[in-house]
Symmetry: C2
Subunit: 639 residues, 2 copies
């Protein structure tokens, strides 16, 4: 095998054309200006627009990390204002393991695109360590910190003359070192901190933390709405004026309830205790009760008029939390994306990244990962392919590369292959959603984690062409002046008009590629094409440096936004990733001496990857005609 | 009067946001890549696509310079491949007077947007002077030089051991110092140079010049096609392979014929002499004969198959040359502009400038002049208004500011004013093309040298609104997916789709401005507005930094091109220029104690300058409704 196939090629060597070198027709239109979490919350409060946030803890295993990222992707859809990740002293929270608190927070922010808060404790730690952790947090792009003292480990907490003894010390340190860079949150205890001498003393401690510079308070769990409301009133009475967000704990198992109330030294109210007692061994019944109880609590809080935000302790589980939020009407899948692709949550990246090549459309995490070290983002051109910059394929994000689905399940989906037609069938079944001969639904391919909604409108045609060996991995229909609030295609906010050029990307066998070369000249200049095989032999009728804008939007009072391009230079880089996936994700499921392995290997060795753009976006796409023409020329009859 | 009114304000202080600072969604799409003249000619020869070029000499007076620039603007329309400007040793050719050869060449290139060649001589000059001239030529953006020895002044030419004695010395110097930076042309003499001992010796001199590095040859005038064709063959025979372009001299007066033949020591053929003799005092008859003769000569050359380009000695006159070129079918008004605004011919500017504010649409020379010192061009945003960069108004290009039309003629057009309604009428008559009460047609206003073709489609409405005191100075209709080859709106080449948001810019009296403020909120967010008075009091519903893209194009295989924006920052700069023109160009025609002066002054002091954009480009423009609404609110009834 050549190196370009084991995801370790050196062809990933292009960097964005420097904005300092190439002049531009456009400024960073489409970029998302950074808004500190503190301001986001203030705006919601002013608008009396309720929101929720979600708390997760770092997993203990790599598999757990993989699962958590998937869960965060799903829970991100419901529109949390932010998520926060707890600090896990035993798990090397400032380290580089995929299970460390900082790593998880950075991943959620950068790859899942959700605003992220990171917990951080200070007790039993040197200032040097804490500063190192803060520096790392900053580097990851995380701009919000929940500053905590940290639980005493046993009884070994001791006052340290020179150190960080209280949450307020950490708040002060962050403010001194970073000014307003971070939004700082602190913890509040509606029933008083378990270590405090009294409720009143604890309120004063909280006041100290706020006076030291905290922007907001999230509370520990509580059972009754009046407990929170009294606490909030008491805070206001002593001059604490920042937002106070109730922490909501949906009871999910008897065990977690016992554990948490013990840790927080809280008494479980009689009504809860007596409701749980008879069902304590029935997890489902307890969860149902927990959802019901938490929903009622949240409703009471929201209806009080004194609460606008809810902070959900998810315990890393999604069902109960989503159910509560749906009942409350707070679970609102974002109706309008800022851009057609999934934006990163990293403020620097959000402010600077305005255009991406279409190729990574179904693999946004791979794109973010491979460009994570870029100081500046392209202004359209991906520049000179001779200079290094796209991250090497081998650097893949650890827990992204590792398939989320076990090999066994992938084998069930992608099957035992007897010839290349079986491979074609996998592609068509993936789109049709029908089960394969083994009775399994194909929910992903090496190139797509799932079907995009955009694909739906071309579903029937795509199934037919995939059955005939046109193995599509990316596509978009043409659209002409569609409303920017369209439920499927919408992005960029209200009042805009969206446009797309029709795009198709697929693998085809060499015979088809030859036929394609014959018919394509008929469609010039309307259709731009670029075809390339694994070894890099390529054919194109487009300029080899100039990107083709294929998605753009026109908005009131703004410059034209052009977020997606077909870029010839990065296509060469994508080619290695796309061909590499044949062997690394599919071929790797089989024994190298087996027939299926050889089928995949032969496809990878001989097929061409093709992209087609129909420039005539106001007219019906001509790309289907191109495919029909290719099939006819290759001697294939459509059914 | 305040300083902002005498075109000398210091408010012209904004510079383009640095491309190095702001990231961008687009590369320099729409920019014109520099093609050396040598390559342009090679391409025409390869394509067997005939062309012409035009020669001018520098005028002697400032008024002459003003007239010449107007003539060059008109002759540029016919599509010359380049124009060249002769070197006028007596006129301080390397100096800074508006009549100097370098100044004229720089103006044609930068302001008229025509590829320009500059003659340069070397005899009786030090290398230092020549190098200084070359450096200045480079600085102006001129990339083509016709290298000459220079005519001996009387008999004082002497061989200089250390100096530049021959054309070939100058060619060698340019090549040595500037490598391929300049396209170098040299002169050829179909009948031999007057100072040469023989035709053969002269051919060898020409060969030396080519061997020294010349890219092409333009010939001295001749009378018979066979003379040129023989000369070209003889050149080829001794190994001269570069393009040889015949110089065509249309006889325009007997005097110029006598003068030129004497200088070039050419014999006038008998048939010409005997044809002219009987009509030698009838200029018109001679010119007709000259046109007829030159047309026949050119036809013969082109039909020989051995000539593709014709270099026309215009003698700074346009009628004869245009007539000949029209007869030959070479006079072809450019059907497709590269961008909707008039591009500069300066290679650096062409390569970097891709977007302009719409405000200077009718005053492109002013815009080019005020931005002539910019090292980089905006990427959409015009940046921070606190930093200096737009050229001061007082620096205005000398012979542009000076009105091309004598004051007397302007007075006839803009008239003796008795009240502000007379001013309104000037605006409406300018658009309707009807004569004023004095019987004069109004061919220009201080803000517009002439009506653009785009205005035509809105003509009737504009006349009506101007009659009612909505004094329009700039406008564009909305267009939606119009062909890029449309005869009026087309730009950017074939196969594209063009779009515009409707735009209107006008002055209105304060009562109208008040009414406008009342009605505008009804039209949000569809309509963006910005209104400002002379003193800078302004109102807008748009972001104060963000430009609104109002003209864009979608082309096959390219990024989105967005060449025109309504930029809020540069509008503030434009405001000073727009208000300044009231007094400098209009008020200045009158005695400061006169009624007309006071009318203009009062308008300048009190009116608002307003711009309106209708963002909903696919729908019929709503801007007329806004105006109607304003008029109704102000208590005005439309007729």
């Amino acid at each position: 095998m050549v190196s370009s196939r084991d995801l370790n090629g050196d062809s990933g060597r292009i960097k964005p054309a420097s904005a300092a070198v190439t002049q531009n027709g456009h400024s960073n239109c489409g970029a998302v200006a950074f808004v500190p979490l503190k301001e986001k919350i203030d705006k919601r409060i002013q608008a009396r627009d309720p929101w929720f946030s979600l708390e997760f803890f770092p997993p203990r295993t790599e598999k757990g990390a993989t699962n958590l990222v998937g869960r965060l992707d799903r829970m991100g859809e419901g529109g949390p204002l932010f998520i926060d990740v707890t600090w896990h002293p035993a798990g090397d929270p400032g380290g580089d393991k995929v299970t460390s608190s900082t790593k998880i927070a950075g991943t959620v922010l950068n790859y899942c695109g959700i605003d992220t808060m990171l917990h951080m404790t200070c007790s039993n730690q040197t200032k040097t360590t804490v500063k190192k952790n803060l520096e790392k947090t900053k580097r990851l792009g995380v701009r919000s910190i929940l500053a905590l003292r940290g639980d005493a480990v046993g009884n070994d907490w001791q006052y340290n003359d020179d150190g960080l003894n209280y949450g307020s010390d950490l708040v002060r340190l962050i403010r001194d070192e970073y000014d307003d860079y971070f939004t700082i949150c602190v913890a509040g205890y509606p029933k008083g901190h378990p270590d405090s001498e009294s409720y009143e003393e604890d309120l004063l401690h909280l006041k100290q933390k706020v006076d030291a510079g905290a922007d907001m308070i999230i509370t520990q769990l509580f059972f009754k709405a009046e407990e929170f409301l009294k606490f909030q009133n008491d805070c206001r009475d002593i001059g604490i004026e920042c937002p106070i967000i109730p922490g909501i704990f949906p009871i999910q198992t008897n065990r977690s309830l016992v554990q948490l109330t013990k840790l927080s030294k809280l008494d479980v109210p009689d009504d809860v205790r007596s409701a749980i007692e008879p069902i304590k061994d029935n997890d489902e019944a307890i969860r149902n009760y927990g959802v019901h109880y938490a929903t009622a609590l949240c409703k009471e809080l929201l209806e009080s008029g004194q609460v606008l935000g809810l902070h959900m302790y998810t315990l890393n589980l999604e069902t109960a939390t989503i159910s509560i939020l749906k009942s409350l009407g707070l679970w609102l899948p974002a109706i309008s994306r800022p851009l057609p692709w999934k934006t990163s949550g990293n403020p620097e990246r959000q402010a600077n990244e305005v255009v991406r090549p279409i190729f990574w459309g179904a693999r946004p995490k791979s794109y973010i990962h491979r460009t994570q070290n870029w100081d500046e983002f392209p202004n359209g051109r991906w520049g000179d392919s001779a200079s290094p910059a796209f991250g090497e394929l081998k650097d893949y994000h650890l827990f992204y590369l590792r398939s989320r689905t076990a090999n066994e399940k992938l084998l069930q989906q992608w099957g035992e292959l007897t010839d290349e037609f079986d491979v074609w069938k996998v592609f068509s079944l993936f789109i049709s959603g029908e089960k394969n001969d083994g009775g399994y639904k194909i929910s992903e391919t090496p190139w797509c984690d799932g079907l995009s909604k955009e694909t739906e409108v071309m579903r029937d045609r795509l199934i037919m062409y995939n059955n005939l060996g046109i193995l599509t991995i990316n596509s978009q229909p043409n659209i002409n002046a569609m409303s920017s609030t369209h439920p499927v295609f919408g992005w960029g906010g209200e009042g805009g008009y969206l446009f797309q050029k029709a795009y198709l990307e697929f693998f085809v066998k060499p015979e088809y590629a030859e036929a394609l070369k014959k018919v394509l000249p008929k469609y010039e200049p309307r259709v731009n094409y670029h075809m390339i095989n694994r070894d890099g032999e390529d054919f194109t009728n487009a300029d080899r440096q100039t990107p083709n804008g294929v998605t753009w939007g026109i908005f009131p009072g703004k410059e034209i936004v052009q977020p997606t391009v077909v870029d010839p230079v990065s296509f060469i880089v994508w080619k290695d990733e796309a061909f590499g996936l044949w062997m690394e994700k599919w071929g790797a499921l089989y024994d190298p001496t087996s027939t299926p392995y050889k089928i995949i290997e032969s496809i990878c060795d001989s097929y061409y990857l093709v992209n087609l753009v129909d420039n005539d976006f106001p007219k019906e796409s001509i790309l289907w005609d191109v495919l029909d023409d290719m099939l006819t020329t290759a001697g294939v009859k459509k059914e």
